[in-house]
């Protein structure tokens, strides 16, 4: 998105569109990227609770909410989801989240 000129900005630096942080894509800040292995996931939603951003995607349409994946536009690769995920202590084969060095 191109940068606005002084004359195009709202006065006093105020922000007039609520929730516009969603447009600022911080995914390119990553060094490590989470890899979701759905068959290992228990859908406890700890990753969603602990994610400091809004990068865990959840499907609420069924009886119970299900973790469906990562929003890579906003995931900064902090790894908190993979640290908090309870399946990780069962070993790499059974872990639902892994942090990999991202190929650029």
């Amino acid at each position: 998105m191109s940068l606005k000129k002084a004359s195009e900005l709202a006065e006093a630096g105020i922000i007039t569109e609520p929730g516009n942080a969603a447009e600022y894509k911080t995914g390119d800040w990553r060094t490590y990227i989470p890899r979701f292995v759905e068959e290992n996931c228990t859908h406890c939603l700890y990753c969603w609770i602990y994610c400091p951003d809004t990068a865990i995607e959840v499907d609420n349409s069924g009886d119970k909410p299900r973790m469906t994946g990562i929003n890579f536009d906003h995931c900064k690769g902090c790894g908190i989801c993979a640290t908090e995920c309870p399946t990780v202590k069962k070993g790499p084969d059974k872990a639902a989240l892994h942090m990999d060095l991202e190929e650029k």
């Binding site: 940068l3 606005k4 002084a6 900005l9 006065e11 006093a12 630096g13 105020i14 922000i15 007039t16």
Partner: protein
């Protein structure tokens, strides 16, 4: 327009002006010599003469913070301070201007510490001259009252939206009784009107975020819009003053020109010291010295073109500063005046006298000394550019 002739101190006069503007919120912390202004205002609130939410905060930093919050919410807000109180709120003073909030503040000029001094000089407001506020200086209680009433119309003008400080000299004006004409409450209320903010936090239909973060890609652009607002304020201050002049018979310009029509040399000064200087100018005029006075009212935005125009015909100019800018070449007013003149072809000698620091009395002898000096300079005598007046060396 029916006006009442009253005898009030400067602080009382400004308290009346602020009362007549009917602010929604007042947040303040006491400091000499401002305290009595807010005491008087609080008395009006307690007596039910004005319906203002008084927030009695724990410090001036909090006073300005509360003022910023209330103003961003959409309220008309007032506060008052001096000296160290202004210094304490310094961080938020810049924020008030950058958030474009039309807060009106009585700045009762008092020397900054150290050493601790409760008396008048201009170091406090001059210390904040880069903050983005409008600075109006008052010579006496009448001017303090008038500037107080006008400040709301200036600050709240949709093309300005900047906070204003109404400056007047501590003790000299704030605490001495003077006679002045006051509008009645209804006429003042009509002139000042209601605040109609374009943006307000309490406008839940149009939610906004106030005071977000800027990175290197946007801070500068936001500052540009502040600079432009200060420039737009200059003609608007004049328009408001013209309207006020129609209402009251007192028409203020950005500066007062006293005996300047045929002046060959002049003194540039701010505040109450102008009165003393005018008295001495009258005496020297009797002796045939063609000396005049420019008393600056609008210091920010600095009316550089108008000032340069008015001074460019002089043979010698004395700029009197009631504050020092340590390490700078001359005081704040000297620096601004000289810089403004540099734009013109005028190369008349401009000399600085720093005077009155810590409330050191500026008397007729000092005024006489300055007049005699610029008279000599106008006749070709060389003198030090930067001088100190009334100090024991």
């Amino acid at each position: 327009m029916e006006q009442q002739l009253v005898a009030l101190t400067g602080n009382e006069a400004v308290a009346y002006a602020f009362k007549q503007a009917r602010p929604h919120v007042a947040s303040a912390f006491p400091i000499t010599p401002q305290t009595e202004m807010m005491h008087k205002f609080a008395e009006f609130v307690a007596n039910g003469e004005v319906d203002t939410e008084m927030i009695l905060v724990e410090s001036e930093h909090s006073a300005m913070s509360a003022a910023v919050g209330a103003s961003a919410a959409g309220s008309r807000v007032i506060t008052a301070t001096s000296s160290a109180g202004f210094a304490l709120m310094w961080e938020i003073v810049y924020i008030a201007a950058s958030l474009r909030l039309p807060i009106c503040m009585a700045l009762v000029n008092r020397a900054l510490s150290g050493n601790i001094n409760i008396h008048n000089d201009h170091s406090d407001s001059m210390g904040g001259r880069d903050a983005g506020w409008i600075h109006l200086h008052s010579e006496n209680a009448q001017e303090a009252y008038d500037n107080g009433v006008m400040s709301f119309r200036i600050s709240e003008h949709p093309d300005v939206q900047l906070p204003t400080m109404v400056c007047y000299d501590g003790f000299i004006i704030s605490h001495t009784a003077d006679s002045l004409y006051m509008l009645d409450d209804a006429d003042a209320a009509t002139f000042v009107g209601e605040r109609t903010p374009k943006y307000a936090l309490l406008d839940v239909e149009n939610p906004i975020t106030v005071g977000p973060l800027d990175l290197t890609d946007y801070y500068f652009e936001h500052k540009v819009s502040q600079m432009e607002a200060e420039q737009r304020a200059l003609p608007i201050i004049d328009q408001v003053s013209a309207e006020y002049g129609e209402l009251t018979g007192r028409r203020y310009e950005h500066f007062e020109s006293y005996k300047m029509d045929d002046a060959e040399c002049c003194i540039v000064i701010l505040g109450s010291s102008a009165g003393t200087t005018k008295a001495m100018i009258d005496e020297y005029r009797e002796k045939g010295i063609k000396v005049g006075l420019m008393k600056i009212r609008t210091f920010r935005p600095f009316p550089n073109e108008l000032i340069a125009d008015a001074l460019s015909g002089m043979k010698a100019i004395a700029v009197l500063d009631k504050s020092a800018s340590f390490g700078g070449f001359g005081g704040p007013v000297f620096t601004e005046v000289r810089s403004a003149l540099y734009q013109t072809g005028c190369r008349a000698p401009v000399h600085n006298w720093i005077y009155g620091l810590g409330g050191r009395d500026y008397d007729l002898h000092q005024a006489a000394h300055v007049i005699e000096s610029i008279d000599k300079i106008a006749r070709g005598e060389e003198m030090e550019t930067i001088n100190l007046l009334g100090v024991r060396l």
